[in-house]
Amino acid sequence: MNLKSTLLAAGIALLMVTPACAADKMNDLEIAHTAYTAGALDIRYAHLALALSDNDSVREFAETMVRDHGAVNDAALALLASLKASPQDNPLSQALVKGAAEKRTELSGLRGKALNCAYATNELGYHQLVNKTVEKDFIPNVTVPELKSLLKDALATFKVHQGHAEHMVMGLKCG
């Protein structure tokens, strides 16, 4: 199991070390930035998997990540534009970006089953982490109703992805 990837370490460490301030003190624009960033990073993972993997279930999953996270992020951009608001970079977004860059480097060096399993396991862990954060921190704390509503729709989507990732991991028999 590679759940303790650098990405998760970075994300979880930040959330655990500063449980009260990581999310509680994030404002709406920071929450929007992190939610958008999480989606954009998953799209980058997916493009990497599409470039390197021949496995049908991995490719199908990755295509769905590109399509779905693209749609969610497009909706987020449209909402922010209508609110005349700009997302605001913050430490949690930065930790996610840094962790994902390291994870991409690791994935880039893998091929075949090792790559498929590393990608699939990371997708499962990544969606678990993001979903927990969106559900427990972002949705309760965000104040603009339209953004709350978008986050709820996004969470419903990401939970479906998490279930899909569980199936993918099982199907790949990564052990």
Partner: protein, 110 residues
């Protein structure tokens, strides 16, 4: 948007026996894709009727027959598409992208 004849059938079971040669105009039924499910999950229609799928989710969905005999284009949020079913039978379908989404159309004789 469910056909009046079907509502009548559901509500007044005693009155469903239409004359054998009653002419019945084709009806368009709506299936909504929402919260990663098709609603209704099982839809009864008559041969010649149409089904209109409307996607209310953020992400694209399709309606794709289990053996790929027919399918819709990917529907973005707010988009809809209509397919007419001429042949009686059971049409099992799902979303090509989200395979947990499954549903059935049962096409009865005209």
């Amino acid at each position: 948007m469910i056909g009046g004849a079907l509502w009548g059938a559901a509500i007044l079971p005693g009155l469903v026996t239409l004359p054998a040669h009653a002419t019945r105009s084709p009806v368009t039924h709506r299936v909504v894709m929402e919260q990663f499910a098709f609603s209704p999950t099982v839809l009864h229609i008559r041969a010649g009727d149409s089904v209109e799928w409307l996607n209310r989710d953020l992400v694209p969905h399709t309606a794709t027959h289990s053996d790929q005999r027919w399918q819709t284009e990917p529907l973005n949020r707010g988009e809809q598409v209509t397919i007419t079913f001429e042949t009686p039978g059971t049409e099992t379908y799902g979303c090509r992208f989200h395979t947990a989404m499954q549903a059935q159309i049962i096409v009865d004789g005209p």
